[in-house]
Subunit: 271 residues, 2 copies
């Protein structure tokens, strides 16, 4: 099954547009888990168990695990193995290099970790992204318009007819012969999100920025989903993971995920 269909299926099955971001920081893991052999994984297990009923996808940010060296890489592997089968498992790694190197990154993320989808930086162009696109069931979300202030520096660079992020969206559409390409478009730019959706009506979107980064959830749902209210997942990391700092952290994360899922569904009904 092509990735775009897999994503829609997860959204329909779970009745959710929510992606939970596992940006786990050791300093924020509750004291009771700190003595654990693998505190990052122990925290993630509890978060996944509590939030899984409300999530269509999980996005695991590789940086947060690489920062802890071998122990972090092990926690990353265990986290991927622990994620349920009925969600889309995204390795948010923002990789991209010349072809023979991208091939190794694709192996690391799709085979070693077992991710269903990855994030890729498209700056190096066509030959640098092809190794990620060989399996129709494995998705690639390309950075297009990111949720941070610095996105203005290069992504808005334009020739008067189009801006770089629009050029990226059009190019990714051309790479989509196997139905496995998507885009990262930040919720902090609701108007541009709608403009990108108009350019590529069928591409899956991974939309960060609805939680701690403060994007407008309602508008970004109405502008970011496709005509059927599908093809987009909305990521929240810190607002769910650290909903409470005490021993009730998992229950609080579950409630925050449920509330976010419900808010996303309400926004969809207003579409």
């Amino acid at each position: 099954m092509q990735f775009a269909q897999r994503l829609d299926e997860a959204i329909r099955n779970k009745k959710s547009l929510l992606c939970v971001g596992l940006d786990t920081v050791l300093e924020k893991v509750p004291a009771s888990l700190r003595g654990h052999d693998d505190p990052l994984f122990a925290f993630n297990k509890a978060i996944i168990a509590a939030t899984a009923p409300w999530a269509a996808a999980y996005k695991v940010n590789t940086a947060f695990y690489e920062a802890y060296g071998l122990a972090g890489w092990r926690a990353l592997q265990l986290t991927f193995r622990y994620l349920p089968e009925d969600v889309i498992r995204i390795a948010d790694a923002k990789r991209g290099d010349i072809g023979n190197t991208s091939r190794m990154y694709a192996r690391a993320l799709f085979e070693e970790l077992g991710a269903d989808a990855v994030t890729v930086n498209p700056l190096m162009g066509s030959d640098s992204v092809q190794p990620f696109l060989e399996q129709e069931e494995k998705g690639v979300f390309f950075l297009c318009l990111t949720s941070n202030a610095g996105s203005a520096d290069f992504q808005h660079f334009g020739d008067g007819r189009e801006k770089l992020f629009e050029r990226i969206a059009r190019q990714v559409q051309k790479w989509n012969s196997r139905g496995n390409c998507g885009l990262v478009v930040g919720a902090t730019h609701a108007e541009e999100l709608g403009a990108v959706r108009a350019l590529v009506p069928e591409l899956p979107f991974l939309i960060p920025g609805i939680g701690a980064q403060g994007g407008d959830l309602e508008r970004s749902v109405q502008l970011g989903t496709d005509a059927q209210g599908l093809r987009a997942v909305y990521n929240s990391s810190r607002a769910i993971l650290y909903a409470a700092q005490g021993e009730d952290f998992a229950a609080a994360a579950g409630r925050a995920a449920q509330e976010t899922q419900a808010a996303l569904q309400r926004a969809l009904q207003g579409k």
Copy 2:
């Protein structure tokens, strides 16, 4: 000491513009090392010992290690620890993300691995790169104009006054307040290499593409170094690592490194 001075010092001390790229592939490790506990590291140790007299820098491509999961990450750590003190140790990771994530990547590469310099993808803009720039002695080579064919897709996108790669070069110059910024500019584009050098006369360049990728070594040395014949290292990976496939691989790699170092010095004398 600022990174730019550190790089110049290594080039002067070693009388070399050569960077040896450790893109080690298990399938190409000689049979005698395959039974080793850690064949990637065993191969790298032999290559480093044989090539160190001729190299000012080593560039370790993280993808090739991540592809082997935990065992690969361990080989990556051991390789960094084994590299001599008198060379610049580059983690070629092409990372870049929002600020709180880039901070974790900086920790992974500079602290966990102990790299002296990293490669960073600048697409996400100013706030995404700042965490990499906090230590003046640690260098950051930003992707500017890469050596692959796909570089034409976005890096040459322009508004008639400047192209994206020129805009990146100018922006990186602004980020260089601590003297630790550099650029990746491919040797496969000798004319553009000269154009970028003219834009940023003092930034260090990491120049891939002189080996297997077939760039013009002589012109790229004359156009890529600064007025003193410094501020640039030229990477060769496959042409050195796999100079011979048999049991004499290390000696052959040493000869290939020596020949490349000599060719780079000859090119410099023609400047």
